[in-house]
Symmetry: C2
């Protein structure tokens, strides 16, 4: 599902980003897609899954290590997006950094 077709070896890491959007659009969609493209090319990136219901969105990205997550958070273009997010796009958000201990699927 969404770039996670291959079976990953646990443990790996997940960042759960839950957000509440403001009404301001102002470049959000474009930036959002640019960040997915940029993340996909980062060291240790394993996949991303995203869903939004009205204003509540959940995006989960998967990574090989905590160090990879730290580097992605510090990426300079991502930092610009994070600032715009705080100022304009999100009325609230929560970030959770997790270790995936096991996974299984329907098939």
């Amino acid at each position: 599902m969404n770039g996670n077709k291959k079976k990953l070896q646990t443990p790996y890491y997940a960042v759960i980003f839950t957000s509440q959007r403001t009404k301001a659009d102002n470049g959000y969609e474009k930036m959002s897609q640019a960040m997915v493209d940029l993340a996909s090319n980062q060291q240790g990136f394993l996949g991303i899954e995203s869903a939004r219901d009205n204003d509540l969105g959940i995006t989960v990205s998967f990574w090989e290590s905590l160090e990879d997550i730290k580097k992605w958070k510090e990426n300079s273009a991502h930092q610009v997006a994070q600032e715009k997010g705080k100022e304009e796009w999100y009325s609230d958000y929560k970030v959770r950094v997790c270790k995936v201990e096991r996974d299984y699927s329907l098939e």
Copy 2:
């Protein structure tokens, strides 16, 4: 955001359930709400967040311990729902059991 107003103490645990729905509705919405209500009353339940975009849905539930997650998975009414899910409602899904190592929010 969605029942996670209070600041939780890490580590706690998360179950990331990503699913692809079939077209079959057949009681899905009703069962889905019943499962949220039932989970909310389980030992160790800390909150739930959910979003669906067309057919892709992400639901993340939060728990105090792996033992609480195991008990919820084994709950008999939940087992019935899981079977219906496999047979009718989901064309694909993935479950990831995670340890939340740290979290932070906008505010």
